[in-house]
Amino acid sequence: MFDTAIIIKSLPMLLGASVWTVIYSLTSVAIGFCIGTLICAMGLSRSGVGRAVAAFYVSFFRGVPLLVQLLISYYCLPLIGLNVPSSVAAVGTLALCTGAYLAEILRGGFLGIPPGLIEAARMVGLSRAQILTRIEVPLAVRLTLPALVNETTMMVKASSLISVVGVLELTRLAQNIATSTFQPLEIYLTAGAIYFVINGAITFLASLLERSFRVEKAA
């Protein structure tokens, strides 16, 4: 029989763990965004080495399953003497991985910026770094917002994989409760529903943001 009592009983714990899911995924997206911007700038630069490094980076992190990347960081970092907590290693790996996807997304945004704007910025004496942070990044974000939001929801889902390397978040806690209560269906469905709500909330907030952007554009 479907047991709603167990859902009500474990819901507070699951919601508590989902806070970690949100923290881990949003942190990795924030770090990944910086990595992605850097990789993207390298990919669009005139330097042949820069372009090669960027292409290699994107190809590797998009070509290897995230689970395998997580296993490598979990088992191999200690081998080279880096004993970081598993949560730090996991968030770092998530960030490196999403950085590759974000670089590809931002690429489209950077290419969509009218070259005249960049030339004008250079004429008024802005440095290369200033042009990147004040002109190019804000415009690229605005141009690619739907794709960036989609990548963020992908990362919320992907963060469930860090349970495999022993980091306590929503999926890991659901596993613990499911094995101790022998009621996996109820627990996993509840966990799935929480992920669904988190992603729904992110999509909703992004739609508000998108609308505010549009008003600014009209003004």
Partner: protein, 223 residues
């Protein structure tokens, strides 16, 4: 840190089995996913709302929740419904239904890309709904959505690694167990990454070629 490639050559037979199983899972999951996706898209677009609404929810759930949780629900929650699936069956079914959610969105966009005038014309000529889908819509839309379908198929090959968590003996699982028995994590896991990477590059290149070939059939500026 020592690096001993003999660990890989000693276990070559098991590794090869794992690779074969990974490809089998990928192929089976893709075929199921395409079938589910096509049926869901048809159900969403060409039936009444009582069929369409649950299907739309299905697509949203498949795309809005982690694949790992979906696998757990099928594998550990299955016995609740009397579905005592083996890890492999649960994994392939999970991959198929997960992919189906994404493929459905692609097919739906494809159906909507065929100009309505053609469908009206086909209906005027007395073609049935099924005939219109089969002879008018599918042939035209497949050319348009092929890049998206190929892209999703490539993505599914990476998801097969997640099946190792529910103890399916595919490549990641095989390599992981070799790693944990020999403690040769660097050799095994880096090899694993390179294999997936090379595989993904080959499959992506093949998809690009296919797109280029089929691209000849799209008539630009026709509608």
């Amino acid at each position: 840190m020592s690096f001993n490639p003999a660990i890989l050559t000693d276990n070559w037979a098991a590794i090869l089995d794992g690779m074969v199983l990974t490809i089998v899972i990928w192929a089976a999951g893709t075929v199921i996913g395409l079938a589910v996706g096509l049926l869901v898209a048809i159900g969403q677009l060409f039936t009444n709302r009582w069929v369409a609404a649950p299907l739309t929810l299905y697509v949203a759930v498949m795309r809005g929740t982690p694949f790992l949780i979906q696998l757990f629900v099928i594998y550990y929650g299955g016995p609740f419904f009397g579905l005592d699936l083996s890890p492999l069956t649960a994994g392939i079914a999970g991959l198929g239904f997960y992919g189906g959610g994404y493929f459905a969105e692609i097919f739906r966009a494809g159906f909507l890309s065929v100009p309505p005038g053609q469908i009206e014309a086909a209906r005027m000529m007395g073609m049935s709904r099924f005939q219109i889908i089969r002879h008018v819509q599918l042939p035209q839309m497949l050319v348009i959505i092929l890049p998206a379908l190929a892209n999703m198929t490539v993505l599914l090959s990476k998801e097969t690694a997640v099946l190792s968590v529910i103890t399916v003996n595919e490549l990641t699982s095989v390599i992981q167990s070799i790693g944990s028995t020999t403690f040769a994590f660097a050799e095994t896991l880096l090899f694993l990454a390179v294999v997936y990477w090379a595989f993904l590059e080959i499959v992506t290149a093949a998809a690009r070629r296919l797109e280029k070939r089929v691209g000849r059939f799209t008539l630009r500026g026709q509608h």
